[in-house]
Amino acid sequence: MKFAVLINEGPYQHQASDSAYLFCRAAIAAGHQVTRVFFYHDGVYNAIKFAEPPQDDRNIVKRWSKLAEEHGVDLVVCVAAGLRRGVKEEVLAPGFRISGLGQLIEAGIEADRLVTFGD
């Protein structure tokens, strides 16, 4: 089955990005496909490459980059939400790309299920 995911909150402040990541990993392990993760609202902050959490904590940004690299998940940062908040090409971690809200609607049309994670 094809899953798409929407993330509405940044890393750490809320559990949304953690829950979404663990959901995606479990979906892939179960043989499903995660076609796209769309980052909206504060979710765009998940893409900031400068993040450097304490050694004994999870690195949320790197985890997403790795998922993109290993499983071809398309990580899309909303351009409008990103501009408003200063998340642009200059700060983007590997595996993320910036595009329009249309990519969210397209994901909703093409995937079998769209699951939202937020506050």
Partner: protein
């Protein structure tokens, strides 16, 4: 429809809204919402249980030290079960 709730019933009206609006399917409690499925907590969950099966995410219960307090009639699932629930239902709604 799979209804997904992530907020404590003490902190948000979300679970009360689901009790009022949701007509069927199933309910999955994740993140801070898992407290609704623990003993001694008064919440709209009992009302929801009359309409649909209720699931709770085990890893979130364990993180909060609440896994031994789950009330009867609620099924504990892991992330794999979360994925299955989404796949089994035709659609889903995260009540943010």
């Amino acid at each position: 429809m799979l209804h997904i709730v992530n907020k404590s019933p003490f902190d948000r009206p979300t679970l009360a809204t689901v009790a009022r609006v949701a007509q069927g399917g199933a309910l999955l409690l994740i993140e801070d919402a898992v407290v609704a499925a623990t003993q001694g907590v008064a919440s709209p969950l009992a009302e929801i249980q009359k309409k649909m099966p209720v699931y709770v995410l085990g890893p979130d219960l364990e993180a909060r030290g609440l896994n031994e307090r789950v009330i009867e009639g609620v099924t504990v699932v892991d992330y794999n079960g979360f994925v299955q629930l989404v796949a089994e239902h035709r659609n889903c709604q995260s009540w943010l």
